[in-house]
Amino acid sequence: MSESTVIRAEHVSFSYGKNQIFDDLNFEIRSKEMVTIVGPNGGGKTTLLELLLGFIEPEQGSLTILGKRPGDASSLVGYVPQYAKYDEKFPITVLEVVLIGRVRNFFGFYTKEDREKAFEVMERVGIADLAKRSFSELSGGQRQRVMIARALVGAPQILLLDEPTANIDTFMSEKFFSLIEKLAKEKTVLFVTHDTGFVTNFTNRVFCINKGLHEHPADAVPGSLIHHAYGHEMRSIRHDIKLEQPEVIR
């Protein structure tokens, strides 16, 4: 393992009953790398996410985050889940949501330092003025920033984002990309998405996952690879050029 490797999967196998999700999965993700994980629903993206978060363990092989089992490396990973999963009516303020990123696992209340860190990170992602606002009143883009602040407040080395562009409009999406671009300079960033249009020009590598993993540099993801990963025709919208018509990959 090279010194800069932060995530390493070696011969990882996992199945749900008779449904084999991964068989001999191998990859390495290096420090401050930005990796986009794409693939169709049911292809194994969520399983990989659950493996990385330590919710499930590989049946065979090993998966390590900075040499630790994912379950023991929770403080190293900042997780940004899909915001659409939240209860719209939950009575909670933005500051309270961000503070959850520093919650003690069993006993203990939030300290003054926790609050200072929360305000620091909210300032950084541009939501400090929303601290006392109710989370349910925010727009999709604002909520996504709150989730990123919550993930960052624990000072993780890896940022793991699940479907980050879902429910964000194009304008907010651009602001969101620029925030992630800044964060990617100091942290390892992993995106999990079913949206191939998310493969932007600042992603280092793309993992196409469909019951296996095809790794590719992000500068030129060929149609053949996406077709192979998804198993059918896909529409691809590239962020670095403007096309009259969406390109149809065959």
Partner: protein, 281 residues
Amino acid sequence: MMDFLAAIANPNVPFIRYALIAGILSSIAFGMVGTYVVVRRITYIAGAISHAALAGLGASVYFSTVYSITWLTPLTGAMTAAILSSWIIGLVTLYASEREDTVIGTIWAVGMAIGLIFIAKTPGYMDPMSYLFGNILLIGRQDLILIAILNIIVVAIIILFYPQLKALSFDEPYARTRNIPTGFFTLLLLTLTACTVVLMVSTVGIVMVIAMLTIPAATAGLVVNKLSLMMVFAGIFCAFSNTVGLGVSYALDLPTGATTILISGSMYVLVLLWKKLSKRG
């Protein structure tokens, strides 16, 4: 109204005073636990726990009568059954592959069936209606002590684990990533729910206790945007409903439990209407 105040002060009718104290005391726990029941959307589970309490209640009435076990009060039996059923539901929810709603429904109905059979076989006349729909005459001094102790335990635990329970309720998968033992806290919350429903069984009964757990908290959720404030307001709304319900039922000679629920339900509708109208305005 004056009659009601006079009845509270009258040393010869302690049951009114006991009912008032029980209602106000249990409102604190009801406000706190009810808030979690509402935000975690586990009303159906809380309903099953409260109905299953009848099994323990009926069993305690039967065994204390047949075998003269004096320490076995109906509230002790109800609490034991409620806690056991909460653990079964919790463990099934967390670890089993059975359909959760099927298990909840089964515990709900089987618990009631066991309770009714025990009550039917208890020698002498035993009216299940008092337990199903509440009867303030059932509240004794010993019950007040039990309610006070349970109340202190429930409130202390909720305060002690407030950040963890809030994190769990808002976003369970994320709480797991922070190494919070979500299974333990889920079971703890269900156990607290079981203890809390028993607090008000005598006043509003097993069938309607779920309403007092959810309606005041839901009403509070309409007016505040913080979980802690929701608990405070839910407690206030619950205490108000209990007190006014007791007073109105005394004045108009109506069943206390039903009157209390109607007061609570009316408050919810009024606050909802006020909120809708103030948004339009």
